[in-house]
Chain length 272, copies 2
Amino acid sequence: MDKNAPIGVFDSGVGGLTVAREIMRQIPNERIMYFGDTARLPYGSKSKDNIIKYSRQIIRFLQTENVKAIVVACNTASALALDEMQQEFDLPIIGVVKPGAKVAAETTKNKRIGLIGTDSNIRSGVYTKYIKSLRPDVCVFEKACPLFVPLVEEGWLHDSITEQVAQRYLSELKEKQIDTLIMGCTHYPLIRSTLGKIMGDNVNLVNPAYETAIELKSLLNRDNLANRCVIDSPSSMYRFYVSDAEEKFKEFANSILPFDITMTEQINIEQY
Amino acid sequence: MDKNAPIGVFDSGVGGLTVAREIMRQIPNERIMYFGDTARLPYGSKSKDNIIKYSRQIIRFLQTENVKAIVVACNTASALALDEMQQEFDLPIIGVVKPGAKVAAETTKNKRIGLIGTDSNIRSGVYTKYIKSLRPDVCVFEKACPLFVPLVEEGWLHDSITEQVAQRYLSELKEKQIDTLIMGCTHYPLIRSTLGKIMGDNVNLVNPAYETAIELKSLLNRDNLANRCVIDSPSSMYRFYVSDAEEKFKEFANSILPFDITMTEQINIEQY
């Protein structure tokens, strides 16, 4: 395997950019090939069968540029398709669910963890199952928050309406006295300050993107895959692909990445 | 053409059910074959090329049951794909844009019309172009309202948060002194009371679903295609198909239709 090869990172759209951003921060000398499936987003309301099909097509596409490892930077795809993808493909693949679940299980003191995410992700029960397998005595309280993604995509990050929606969604979790809250959707770190304000200082917010970048780093070191290249400009280190609507993707990406994306390529993902 | 054949009605998901509902009300002796493209929703953020491809696949699928006419019950697909579909297929196809635009152009008194809809629909400019072609001296003021669909799908129809979001979206249209507002997305009639309250009694809300059912009725009569059958039970008159997530579709459908859907069939739309 070529150590200089890129890491493949994919999501249903822009949310996975919060994961890519963490990888850029923590492992700045790795190249990234990012794919956002903007033609078929959101994944949060789709079935397991379709999520598996979409993930398979995307990994096949990422392999056309010989990626050395893959990060499923989407909670829904990590929850519904990761096991199948790991069996089908012969390269290291990690998702965002296990790293996030692991740190939550390890750090909760009162053994009461809250989990917020999209409909599909919550319905899959994957986070809870994994947390229980690590620590059976922990209670997990789940809440689907379908409006957070459109609010983030509307750009209402620090906003009274977003705060009221969050108040409503989080009120039942607050009553459960949780000390840890997993932000189980890659969009949610972008409204972290609102979530933190509502939950209060005693609740630790877990960002799976951060934990995933740590796991990726240790996996690359373990498998002797870490890149030793000199860090170059973002335009040569990072490449972005989408299945639809480049402009909107670029606009959003430029609002959350520390540099401006100059080029995004649109591809027909159903061919793969 | 068989007069007893169903009308094909399609949308990206559940929104088109407001159009189906109007057809059921106004032409109760017509059968309906409804398709909701729940695997690829929402259409509102997708490109013209993909919307054309999706519409073509759906019409091919609807033709497997020999539909006698097709209603594109989706504003985005009506705006972006109707002309192409009418050229490609040899059966009557109508959309929701023209009937809605026509009645708005005909009924405005002060010649100031507001239009709300999804991103793609507004960006397409199709409503405005059609209104101007009918009545060039009319001013059309457009506003994309991307949060309305997720709010409706969350079921927050009569809700203080939905009202605040609507206040924010509609404030610039209120300043324009419009006397007519086109609800340019099939979900919006479900929050009609909130929109009406904010716009006030002097603004006429145009529901393209209503106008589309009128146009369908006159088209069927004109082409001698109207069904003369005896009205039967909904389960034999109406059939529902989706490309993903049947349960959620059924739940939503049952909340807005005057009867309960008992069966929904999931099909692989990419095969068509």
